[in-house]
Amino acid sequence: MNVAYFPGCSLHSMSREYDVSTRLVCQHLDINLREIEDWNCCGATAAHSVNHTLAVGLSARNLSIAEEMNLDKVTAVCAGCFSRLKAASHELRNNPHIKAEVEQMLKVTAPVKPEVEHLLQLLVEEIGLEAIREKVVKPLKGLRLAAYYGCLLTRPRQIAQFDDPEQPVSLDNLLKTLGAETVTWGHKAECCGGGYAASDTDIVLDLGGQVLKSARQAGAEAIVVACPMCQGNLDMRQKAMELDFRLPIIYFTQLIGLAFGYKSGQLGINKLFNSPMPLLKSKGLA
């Protein structure tokens, strides 16, 4: 399967382990990720917060390159990038005014063909849990995990069009397929504070702290994420939140890779802030 891949800025700098594990897992599942050539930043929270046309335009440019590469499916693993790409695609299809504006600025025909999917959706809906189960050589036995979806994987529903907006199950099902156990908890789709980590840290300490406490209360040994922003907010601020859990925050691609038999070092698991290594070792998984 050929898929256009949008890594986004985080995966090229602070979250390289997410990029590395994504590529390994996709290769293992015969998904041919083709990085969008000359891609630009999706504008993240900043662009849509202050300039709607710019926000749509930045993602429209990336989608138009994917279209030029003859790829009709685009995937991202950052929930933020995914949301921006998908919201732009929705705007270009439904808002003729902004479509014309962006076409005139970019000097290209608006890319309305490519379908945008987060990698999690692509894995559970197109590759399928059965195909994934067949490749598991090292089941994640004994790991008790909190599957965290955050806001943008499933919301707003008319744009994300994936799973349930507040009680999602796809990541839980995937982790169970890998042999792990998942906890029932109340904060799986609550906000971690998003893009406020630097500019208004208190918001992240408050909202992210609630997510961590809830996972801990449910008995989770680690939280599994599908977004570099969620990962950073939950992993790097535990000390500032005055929480002494040292709860590991692991990318879902890293756990798939582990179950597929890759070594923790190959998946960049050692790059995470609160190291999952003691936990994984205690379960004989690393």
């Binding site: 800025c9 985080s10 090229h12 700098s13 602070m14 390289r16 000359d38 891609w39 630009n40 930043c41 504008g43 993240a44 929270t45 900043a46 662009a47 849509h48 917060s49 202050v50 300039n51 709607h52 046309t53 710019l54 335009g57 930045l58 440019r61 808002n95 962006v102 600025m105 970019l106 000097k107 806001c151 943008l152 919301r155 707003p156 529903r157 008319q158 907006p165 507040e166 609550e190 906000c191 504070g193 998003g194 893009g195 406020y196 630097a198 500019s199 208004d200 840290t201 918001i203 909202l207 790097m236 000390k239 050692n270 790059k271 802030f273």
Partner: protein
């Protein structure tokens, strides 16, 4: 906190009904495709909101203020600068009122009118990030944070995270530059009728 200065207290303040005006609802309908008149006044948006406990005006009240055209307070409110765009409000709304889109629209309008942000560091961060997109097309998180600390005069903010990130090989200061920058930059052009760069 003093009861009279508490932001929560503003919630109970009576709305000024002597200058009502429906042109803002019309404007929101035309620009955001959101029909405020479909609001059922049920309050589910506020019930779901992630940050309503720190908002000066809750989503439900914001919708009501649009109905009566209370533009001045809407453009000055703190909620514009601490909405986390979590989309819980719109998802729970039985009428699908897209409040985060309205928040973006009002914020953009406030900026265009030169109304200062109630949380200047939030606006500063957005601007520094977009400056980098304008310069290189991509963002280096390290450069962004350092530049933000410098401009917000919080020189040591997050410094304790630095060494650990360095040892984990997480700091990569030089992002690749987009080749077709002219195309990216054209997106920043001011819209007709607007002065300066529309960002």
């Amino acid at each position: 906190m003093n009861a009279t200065t508490s932001p929560v207290n503003q919630y109970f303040k009576a709305l000024q009904l002597d200058e009502t005006d429906s042109s803002l609802s019309q404007e929101i309908l035309e620009n955001c495709g959101v029909d405020i008149e479909r609001c059922l006044e049920c309050g589910k948006c506020s019930g779901g909101c992630s940050n309503t406990h720190i908002f000066d005006f809750t989503p439900r009240k914001i919708v009501q203020m649009i109905k009566i055209g209370d533009e001045k307070r809407l453009l000055h409110m703190d909620s514009l600068w601490c909405c986390v765009a979590c989309h819980l409000c719109v998802d729970r709304c039985p009428s699908g009122i897209d409040i985060p889109r309205i928040m973006d629209y009002l914020r953009e309008k406030a900026i265009t009118k030169g109304i200062p942000a109630t949380r200047p560091t939030v606006e500063l961060f957005h601007n520094l990030m977009l400056d980098q997109v304008h310069k290189k097309g991509r963002v280096s998180e390290l450069y962004l944070i350092l530049n933000y600390n410098l401009k917000s005069r919080q020189y040591l903010k997050n410094a304790e995270l630095g060494p650990q990130m360095f040892f984990k090989g997480k700091l990569n200061p030089i992002p690749a530059r987009v080749k077709k920058m002219d195309q990216v930059r054209r997106l920043f052009r001011p819209k007709p009728g607007q002065k300066g760069e529309a960002r």
